[in-house]
């Protein structure tokens, strides 16, 4: 039986992970773009990204593009696995079986 993930379950973090999982495994998304897409503030997005990074679900890379500082985010393999399990658990709940948040 799949387990819900307490870190991913938080609505904003679920949205962040959903967006990152939509990309190919070798693609990183720009911080500003993610902030606009999810309609979040810098601080709010930053705080949730830190949580996800601490859990090892995402990797944050700070770099320079055209001499401007730029932050890119990518979902890790661990993050993709955790997200898939979380989604499986949600589907089990919708289908009627009980699931606990780990």
């Amino acid at each position: 039986m799949a387990q819900l993930d307490n870190i991913i379950h938080q609505p904003v973090r679920l949205q962040i992970m959903s967006s990152l999982i939509s990309l190919d495994q070798n693609e990183q998304v720009n911080f500003t773009y993610l902030r606009k897409l999810l309609k979040l503030t810098d601080g709010n997005l930053g705080a949730h990204l830190t949580k996800l990074e601490e859990a090892g679900y995402i990797k944050i890379e700070k770099t320079f593009v055209a001499r401007k500082p730029c932050t890119f985010i990518i979902a890790t393999g661990k993050g993709r696995d955790a997200f898939e399990e979380h989604i499986a658990a949600l589907k089990e709940i919708v289908d009627g079986s009980k699931t606990q948040i780990k």
């Binding site: 609505p11 959903s18 967006s19 939509s22 990183q28 500003t32 593009v65 890119f72 949600l90 709940i93």
Partner: protein, 192 residues
């Protein structure tokens, strides 16, 4: 801690929404400028060719050169502003470029193999070959708009070739160029 079925449904719905938004926004960022440009080029080239058929070869050569330069400029401009970048291990852009270069080489080879042919046959062949590449790219990026566009313009080309020979160029300007331009415009306006 348990969550209700309603909460689980809402979470899954939110996931689907964000994934759809991300996919559309990224497709929009890359696809629309080049589709709009190529659509306009098709409209202009086919319309001029209808009235000056003797210059068809030069008109389409000019279109190909302008389109190639335009595409390179668009990708260069958009690359620096791209919201998504690839990690160094597996870059997609060179493979897309390679696909189009190989397509051009193979079109030339096939034209030599199939010669002699009429101008109409040559044009319909190149149009359908290019649309085949659109379908391949659609399958590659999981972008159904590219697949539908490729199939629709291919069907339009066949209709023009077999049923509307006297108005083939005007038909292709309207159906081919119009479809490519409209798709680019639709993505730009609706997927933002």
């Amino acid at each position: 801690m348990n969550i209700s079925q309603e909460d689980a449904k809402a979470s899954l719905s939110s996931v689907r929404n964000v994934m759809g938004q991300t996919h559309k926004a990224l497709s929009s960022a890359y696809a629309n400028p080049s589709l709009i440009m190529w659509g306009l080029l098709w409209i202009i080239a086919f319309t001029i060719t209808h009235f000056y058929i003797a210059y068809a070869f030069y008109i389409f050569m000019a279109m190909a050169v302008a389109g190639g330069i335009g595409t390179a400029v668009i990708f260069r401009v958009f690359h620096s502003k791209a919201p998504v970048k690839e990690t160094s291990s597996n870059k997609l852009s060179p493979r897309i470029t390679a696909l189009w270069i190989f397509l051009c080489i193979y079109i030339v080879i096939w034209l030599f193999l199939f010669a002699p042919f009429t101008g109409l046959q040559c044009n319909a062949f190149i149009c359908t070959a290019v649309m085949f590449a659109y379908i391949v790219m659609g399958l590659w990026f999981n972008n159904r708009f590219m697949i539908v566009l490729g199939l629709a313009v291919t069907a339009g080309t066949l209709v023009g070739f077999y049923l509307l020979r006297n108005y083939y160029c005007l038909w292709m300007a309207l159906v081919g160029g119009g479809a490519i331009f409209s798709t680019g415009l639709y993505i730009r306006l609706r997927w933002r």
